[in-house]
Amino acid sequence: MDNIEKNLYDFYRVLAEVKNISLVKKEDFELIQAKNNLWPQLIFNLNQQKNQNEIIPEISRYLADYKLSPSIVAPDEYISKNHSELLKASSLIPVKVLMGMNTSKGSKENIKMPADCEICELKNKTQLSDFSMLIQREFFSSKKDFGEEILLELKDSEEVTMTGLYKDSTLVSSMLVFIKDNIAGLYFIGTKKENQKKGYASLLIRSGLNQLFKTGIKEVVLHANHNSFALYQKIGFEVQNKFIVYKKV
């Protein structure tokens, strides 16, 4: 397992320490589940030593038995197009691709912060509520899937820092940094729709990278979707692997 995959799974395990979120460790996978159908509802860390012919139907049966419908995250080097028939037979369908990206360098360009912008750590209830709303809008479409209390609890974790870029005192771009074993993972990178494509996320990430590498972090990782992939590549991140997200239908 590489650092990109490890950081993601470690982040899920830290999320599981939040109130109303539980972690179930099975022999061949882990399940993280929030109450009231809120996010996260995820199966991850599949036992890649096990044959896919066994584990895919096993997960499908488990979900049917317990009437669960989490997303299942798996690296595409483990489950791929070769398993299409098996996935179909188990009613598991791929719904999303995430690209695992990393960088071990800070930003080459000088960071010029516009006079009306500032970056600061998000700590108080109002700041975290703004971040939560941004996450909800950017990552969870129209349904109210993301509980604000996750951020309120995570702010006390030593491994988590949340930062935001404010323009004229309004939060326009934000991200969560999760550090474990000297590897930093960037999560929930989002920018308000009306402020997208103006370079705010890039400014926030590049400034974050410089800070992280100054403190001795050796690698920064993230998981990009189709929309954000080009931005991260421009900043200097490189694709190392791919994850596919599945749902049972």
């Binding site: 179909k88 369908i93 129209s142 749902k247 239908v249």
Partner: protein, 79 residues
């Protein structure tokens, strides 16, 4: 079938899945439609398969990023 004819037929399918009428273009993507999440994306493609009587590979579905990609995928299969 021309790309414009496909787009016209797609309008009906989109309205059915996303429960809203919209001005559809090749550029229309999940960014423009609030309820176009990953699961609805799959449901949309399933409905398109029925409507156009085609089959799109499970893994190709997740590579279709906007309406233009969907139109191309349909056209490729209707030839």
């Amino acid at each position: 079938m021309s790309s414009e004819e496909i787009l016209e037929k797609l309008k009906k399918v989109y309205a059915e899945i996303f429960k809203e009428e919209m001005a559809l273009t090749h550029e229309t993507s999940p960014n423009d439609i609030g309820s176009w999440d990953s699961l609805n994306h799959v449901l949309l493609i399933k409905r398109i398969e029925e409507e156009f009587q085609i089959e799109i590979d499970l893994f190709e579905v997740i590579e279709l990023k906007n309406t233009g990609d969907i139109v191309n995928a349909i056209q490729k299969r209707l030839v």
